[in-house]
Amino acid sequence: MKKRNLVTVGALSVMLVFTSCSKSDSVECHECHVAYDNNGVEIEVEILAADGGDDFCGTELETVEAPGYTHEIPQTIVGMDTVPAGFYEVHCEEHADH
């Protein structure tokens, strides 16, 4: 009985480990921005998806993250900084919430 319980515990533990192995990385939808290097300070300019919302999803997300893709923005004021108009690489990763 004791051996059977131990084997059961072992088997359940193995199942737990394996089910935990599945990639829980969710792509889903993400907000995106372009980044401007203002003398070593990174200035972010948020960009909008095709539907006017903040989130880029599915094919649209793949498009803006594709190699060589650049996004055009007009001259933009962010706080006290001015980001020149131009084409910039898009970044959709999260940043620290400070």
């Binding site: 051996k3 935990s20 192995c21 993400h30 990174e42 190699p67 400070h98």
Partner: protein
């Protein structure tokens, strides 16, 4: 007919009796010693002596098998088994244990620990924050890290591909060419690690010019069934880790099974902010299956390890110019901050090993086959990886050992096939394959208090890259000879060892052909196909002395490396990233001394003071700057009190205070900065609720010191990202 049956029955009993191996372990007063670890290293089986000091095994142990006897507080002993005689072992009581190997005799995978400078560290997940931090307690050893998710070992100032890691006889290659790639496995199922510093590990390859670490699984059990479950938590990153292990045997069949799951959020800095994306997840499962048939032993091992570490400190501008607030969060969101974000690595490692040995008289024949597969996907974007690399490593290694009374000969060879393959067009390192052949011969002679060892190894390596995406057509071979020679002498309590060794390392494919952005290090890296072989020579001297209350180890060394390959910054920028070039320096010298002191007051036998010193100087003869990632000098102190005589009353097992002082580091590479000195103090309390149920409580960085180690992976980001602030951790373990 009856006489025949009776005779046969008696013969069977005689056979069974003859097949047993039994012995007794005593102290110098002929009193039995119980719970002595008796390790049959050639059979990988561990027994324990009973209350009468006796041990018995059904295994038929061949002559000349090594048997090691170890009990905490006693001098360990290793002997060669001889059948027919009485196996009676006397262990001397020790008052002082030096760096866990104050004893001279112990079995080591890396060689004869009398004749070669081998250090060992027990790995106990109960007391540990992480395996790499455990190993870094050894003198001369440090770690590169950015939180618990990414950690690498540094030995005497050298790291990466110069420090080679073996796990149960197989080289683990978790893309060691970059500092954002960790060690590739955890301490799951491990019992200890052996370390050779510098270029002396001939049997396991010539490329370990910094050092070689050999991690070992716990041996098979002689008991029918044993196991454990354990759990750990810390309140810095809300790390939660669970493990289980089961070991059993039936007749000559042995089986070990382990599993682990760990998840961690971002870690908390001394200013109560959290380093964004220092989170990680780890899963692992491993098993070992052993079978003995007479003198023939077979072991099959399998392991799958996955990890998902975030890459903290990622910015799109010069990392040295950002402020700490841009890469830290003011608080943790426990519902989201365990989830992988970007950039993140997805690592999948699989390891398969088959080893067999056959012993007869004075000979032992071994054959080892291992296959390791590493897949690394590094995602900076959500939808596509920046690179997706498969690295496979196949090792075949036959060897023959001959043992006579005073002489040991080992002849063997390694055949290694490596293949590096990109699964997408984007790549930092090219597709490449290599074949390495390395025959070796080692001779050891011991007589009384004197010993000598000598070894020679020749390596031939062919490296081919015909990467169509990068338009590469490369085919080159490297060959050279490695050697190691040492002397050992014991005079009363004084032990002397001197080792002179030489090894070489051929350039890695990343050093030759890198050409692209490496998001994990925020650099644009460029290789140089003209790079040649690195050559290293080392002289290592070790002196040990101990009496009942005091032990001293002094270990000076000097190593010079010619054609040293380094990755150095330029003034150029590509795709917004600073360009780093691989280049070669004529000569680098590394000199240093390590010392250990252990004091044990006569009036308080349960109290131990341990102190270790590591001093290192690295000089680049071709540059006014020093070498990169050289750790600062350090003094490590440990006060340990064992509650042996009081544990029944208080349930406490031990209490320890660990203090590390790091000197300032003012010798650094061109792109590094001076690092100030600092102190860190950790406390730990062990509790023994019962013989089966243990707990440890730790309070780390007691004074909430704000410090960044010189070799931190994020030292160059935001002026240096600090290590975790004050936090507690708790570990529980139940054994059955």
């Amino acid at each position: 007919m009856k006489e025949f049956l009776v005779s046969s029955f008696l013969m069977m009993n005689i056979f069974i009796t003859y097949s047993q191996t039994r012995g007794i372990v005593l102290d110098p007063n002929n009193m039995p010693l119980n719970e002595v670890n008796i390790f049959f290293s050639d059979q990988n089986i561990l027994l324990f002596s009973n209350e009468d000091g006796e041990f018995i095994t059904e295994l038929d142990i061949p002559n000349n098998s090594y048997i090691s006897f170890y009990k905490d507080g006693y001098s360990s002993k290793t002997l060669k088994y001889r059948s027919g005689g009485e196996l009676k072992v006397i262990l001397e009581k020790l008052h002082v244990i030096l760096d866990e190997i104050g004893v001279v005799e112990s079995h080591s995978e890396l060689g004869n620990s009398k004749l070669i400078n081998i250090e060992k560290k027990s790995l106990s997940s109960l007391n540990s924050i992480s395996m790499v931090e455990d190993v870094a307690e050894l003198s001369g050893v440090d770690m590169i890290s950015s939180g618990l998710g990414i950690q690498k070992i540094v030995v005497r100032g050298l790291s990466g591909m110069r420090v080679v890691t073996y796990l149960n006889g197989m080289q683990i290659n978790n893309q060691q060419w970059a500092n954002d790639h960790g060690i590739g496995f955890t301490d799951l199922g491990l019992t200890e690690v052996e370390l050779i510093k510098g270029a002396s590990a001939l049997k396991y390859g010539s490329e370990a010019i910094g050092g070689l670490l050999y991690f070992k699984d716990a041996p098979f059990t002689s008991d029918k069934l044993k196991g454990f479950i354990s759990s750990g938590f810390n309140n810095s990153s809300y790390l939660s880790s669970s493990k289980f292990g089961v070991k059993f045997n039936k007749k000559n069949l042995f089986f070990n099974l382990y599993g682990q799951y760990a998840i961690s959020s971002d870690y908390r800095l001394p200013n109560n902010t959290y380093l964004f994306n220092s989170r990680f997840k780890q899963n692992a499962i491993k098993f070992s299956l052993g079978y003995r048939y007479k003198n023939w032993q077979n072991i099959f091992r399998g392991q799958i390890h996955t990890e998902v570490p975030g890459i903290p400190g990622h910015v799109h501008v010069d990392p040295s110019k950002v402020s700490l607030t841009e890469i830290t969060s003011s608080e943790l969101n426990l519902s989201t901050d365990f989830n992988p974000t970007r950039p993140t690595q997805f690592v999948n490692n699989q390891l398969f090993i088959y080893e067999t040995n056959y012993m007869a008289n004075n000979f032992k024949f071994e054959f080892y086959a291992g296959h390791f597969i590493n897949n690394l996907k590094e995602y900076e974007k959500w939808t596509r990886p920046a690179f997706d690399l498969d690295l496979s490593n196949t090792l075949l290694s036959p060897s023959l050992r001959y043992i006579s009374d005073k002489l040991t000969l080992q002849l063997g060879s390694q055949f290694v096939l490596k293949e590096n393959k990109n699964n997408i067009n984007d790549r930092l390192v090219p597709d490449a394959s290599s074949f390495n052949l390395g025959p070796y011969l080692m001779i050891e002679y011991e007589k009384d208090n004197f010993g000598i060892n000598s070894g020679l190894r020749y390596d031939y390596k062919r490296l081919i890259s015909d990467d169509k995406i990068l338009d590469l057509d490369y085919d080159n071979s490297f060959n050279s000879t490695s050697f190691s020679s040492g002397l050992y002498y014991r005079f009363t309590n004084h032990i002397f060892r001197v080792i002179f060794s030489g090894a070489y390392r051929s350039p890695h494919v990343s050093e030759l052909f890198a050409d692209g952005v490496h998001h994990g290090t925020s650099r644009y890296e460029i290789g140089d196909r003209r790079l040649g072989i690195e050559y290293a020579n080392q002289i290592d001297f070790k002196y040990q002395w101990s009496n009942d209350h005091l032990g001293i180890v002094v270990n000076p060394f000097t190593q010079d490396i010619s054609d040293f390959i380094s990755l150095d910054p330029t003034d150029s920028v590509i795709s917004g990233y600073k360009v780093y070039n691989y280049m070669q320096y004529d000569k680098v010298e590394i000199n240093g001394v390590e010392m250990n002191l252990h004091y044990h007051p006569h009036q308080l036998h349960n109290l131990h003071f341990e102190q270790s010193y590591s001093f290192l100087q690295a000089r680049n003869k071709n540059s006014k700057y020093g070498l990169a990632l050289v750790p600062a000098n350090s003094i490590k102190n440990k006060i340990l009190f064992k509650f042996n005589d009081y544990e029944r009353l208080l349930k406490f097992d031990y209490f320890s205070i660990y203090h590390i002082y790091k000197f300032k580091q003012d010798s650094y590479a061109e792109y590094e900065e001076l690092t100030d000195s600092y102190n860190v103090i950790n406390l730990q309390l062990g509790i023994k609720f019962s013989s089966q149920f243990h707990c440890s409580l730790g309070l780390n960085n007691v004074f909430n010191e704000t410090y960044t180690p010189h070799i931190s992976r994020v030292r160059g980001v935001a002026g240096g990202v600090p290590n975790p602030g004050r936090f507690f951790n708790i570990n529980l373990k139940y054994e059955f």
